[in-house]
Assembly symmetry: C2
Homo-oligomer: 339 residues x 2
Amino acid sequence: MLRIQLDELQRTIEQALLRAGLGPQQALQCARVHASSSCDGVNSHGLNRVPRFIEYVDKGWIDIAAESTLVSALGAIEVYDGHQGIGVTNALFATERAMEMARVQGVGIVALRNTTHWMRGGSYGWHAAQQGFASICWTNTESCMPAWGAADCRIGNNPLVIAVPRTEGPLVLDMAMSQYSYGKLQTTRLQGQPLAYDGGYDSEGRLTRDPGAIEASRRILPTGYWKGSGLSIMLDAMAALLSQGLATNQIDEIKQGSGTGASQVFMLFDPRQLGGAAVADQIANSVADYVQASEPAEADSRVMYPGASTWQRREDNRQRGVPVDEDIWEQVQALARGD
Amino acid sequence: MLRIQLDELQRTIEQALLRAGLGPQQALQCARVHASSSCDGVNSHGLNRVPRFIEYVDKGWIDIAAESTLVSALGAIEVYDGHQGIGVTNALFATERAMEMARVQGVGIVALRNTTHWMRGGSYGWHAAQQGFASICWTNTESCMPAWGAADCRIGNNPLVIAVPRTEGPLVLDMAMSQYSYGKLQTTRLQGQPLAYDGGYDSEGRLTRDPGAIEASRRILPTGYWKGSGLSIMLDAMAALLSQGLATNQIDEIKQGSGTGASQVFMLFDPRQLGGAAVADQIANSVADYVQASEPAEADSRVMYPGASTWQRREDNRQRGVPVDEDIWEQVQALARGD
């Protein structure tokens, strides 16, 4: 696989976005999120997603002229309308605004409605953690999965991000509500491999590890069976309620690609207001250390806290260059040149 | 199975708790939570838990004289110390206090440290939803499960409750971070049945549906494999951070039974401040209706939103009496009589 230096990757994406009509600040913010996602090993929402983002802009599904506007402010919770603007800049704005609120009163919550795909949810958890904030953020999405016991897709993947700052490297969880993503099914199928665990149902309704059979039935499995299904439903209801925005059932009617019209919640906490940064660091260390000191189930393996492997991959890719798909890299370079 | 009328069940538990030394208000609050848990089908934290609660009181592991005291107040977030008081009354206090705050400013968060077992987490979600509040609540616990990839228990079950009010019946999710509880393993083993899905590892490190093999290895499975493991770790870190309380690794050192020393978070939202109760009801209805209209995967089955089956069971048990284990019912009656 080709490796590209992070700064070159980011500059090229930025160029492509400028050519798509984004303003300099928008292009820089989005390029940072896409490039750092690829650097963290999440190409699906990094480099690989740039052409589709530009396609959405070209189709008018994302309004690059739109800015988030305040709907209501109630002290610790503010509601914004994203007006189908750029998902990444809307989400960064919401994160920054919630941090400002948290700086003053310990907690700040921004509920954002009518936004578009925020790309990699973990971006916002990492961003906040690097500035010393803890966070709980999630988005709802269009349907991509059957509810528990159902055959047709009526619940979203609704990624949930929980992050806690830590001097030695934050704890960051970024989890979607399906056991596997469609991206993972595709990659595994192309490698001719089975999934490590059941990932959905085949067309006969039997649980299977065959990625192709699941892609065909469209019945991916909620993580933890009934539990991930329930969590997906509740995150959807709560995001729509707090933002007075669209729930999955209404997002399904928009039919303008993935993530368009989503409702999102950004809860930011400032440990400096809550016991102090030193206490928070001590707590985060004790949690990470305890988990890492587990007895491994398999010899030669390590037990890691959420975010640890991402951190290692990032450091490695920063030094050795970010692995990218050659065809997509060509495609984004062409977009940057304006071919 | 014996059926007891709900009011008789509650009165008997209340008597037993009064005899254990609880004050009238404490006994009433706790009896309501235990009795309604049994009525909802959760006997493990309902009637069945009463003798163990009294045992903890007798051992001094729960201090019935303690009351929650304010540690810090920052507008929308307040931190309380539970002083190892009664978990149920501490949690009800926290819920009520967070509701008061939410009534004024849309959101109220109470972080509670040094509390004891809150029994059934869903109690607080139901309680708040019945008064028109949405909620996100969770607790950390002592270790009961290995982290993903680990052989020894270093993460908690950390139940998470998310509830959204709805006139026709709220949406309430109450999920622990293991795929199955030890209670469920025991029940299934006693019935001579296998689990429906893998629930943990046998002593050879193989995934298994044999409940007895998992009880022997103590390696229950996090829900959704690595995902439930990560979520458990983050809920622990976040609860400890927000309350400046104990994380699972420190709770493990207390060794005074289950739940003693826990850190909990109660986030309450008032829809009347956030778009209005009518809008919230519409959103909750649309989410519930959409899920319920799913095509069932199996003929004659129904797809339900979180909380729907609990609601049905409750209505049924209110009419026909609450099913209880005969031996435990005898035991609690004896405690109530002071035998």
